[in-house]
Symmetry: C3
Subunit: 143 residues, 3 copies
């Protein structure tokens, strides 16, 4: 953990630069610090995935002429135990990055962007990784 999963309507493929957006979202996650100045997320466990939906429906599907309706949904799943302040800081930082990438599409078309943070307790947490050893980081266990 953590991971950030992005689901988006495929009609936004050429309106939002998803590849660089993933990179900057990951970099922003990695830059987060908690109240003790420690990194909030481990370098070896941080990942962002973005999936275009080839079939979709948004609102009533009837945009004004020349506009499209699209949606970008982002879900950051993290282990529980971080403070409310840390979660708000992380969420606000990611929203800041999103503005840079989506504002043009939000202005030209009818586009919604929603970011949620879930802390879901898992019943099992298994791992195989060459990332944590490489970065000498320790995975955070989900509770």
């Amino acid at each position: 953990m953590p991971h950030l999963v992005i689901l988006y309507t495929a009609n936004l493929e050429n309106k939002v630069d998803f590849g660089p957006m993933c990179r900057e979202l990951a970099d922003t996650m990695l830059a987060q610090r908690d109240e003790q100045g420690q990194g909030v997320f481990p370098l070896g466990g941080t990942r962002v995935f973005a999936f275009p939906a080839p079939h979709f429906a948004v609102a009533n599907g009837q945009p004004p002429e020349g506009k499209e309706m699209g949606f970008v949904y982002l879900n950051l799943r993290m282990a529980s135990g971080r403070s409310a302040d840390v979660k708000k800081t992380v969420g606000d930082a990611l929203i800041g990055v999103l503005h840079k990438y989506v504002d043009a599409a939000v202005a030209s078309d009818l586009v919604g962007v929603t970011l949620q943070i879930d802390e879901i307790p898992s019943s099992f947490d298994g791992r195989i990784s060459s990332l944590h050893p490489y970065f000498n980081t320790k995975p955070t266990q989900s509770k």
Copy 2:
């Protein structure tokens, strides 16, 4: 919120008409009314995404000759707070729409369709949108 995410085995691409199905599911969500006659879901926040899985496995993977095994999983994620009656009405309405689109494939092949409704409390809920202002709707906050 809300959103409906559809995961399906890619071998159903030509057996189920996913594009129109997404549209009719969204329209059905938008037509739902609660006990006070209010819309259950906000026009500007309603979206449906469908994702074909290029790799998959269903049951034992050994259908009778000439049949395929496929699956469609639908997850409606909504903010908590709606009544049990409203959730049942919404679920039943969506299942009604699904019958129209999947019954032929369920009859000709071995196909499972499951719809679940999740009310997942989020730790953070951020938004950027030109949809809500356009429709003059208010997002429902997840709790």
Copy 3:
């Protein structure tokens, strides 16, 4: 239920054999037995979906020359009510299968693989299926 959803960075498409991996993961799920010797998962309700993410970011995005950074995230969602022992046995069995398919990529590149098991209570559980009748299995209801 249950289903196993696999999200992976698309750069692993030719490094991990996802199709056969899905099949063997499903077979392994179907082989699980509980303390009473009963099958843990119903034949007609077991499915595995794998989705490549065309856009992604892993860790700092700066692998050593000649290596790639990739991630495979697996989430097994099941109805609640199984014992801690059963969940651990299931998780360990799936990790065992994963080793067979991912160890080469984990060794040659910087790759993380995480499996989590979620027991998420749903507010609604609807089904249309020709799989359960065919296998004469009963769906397990999520609680």
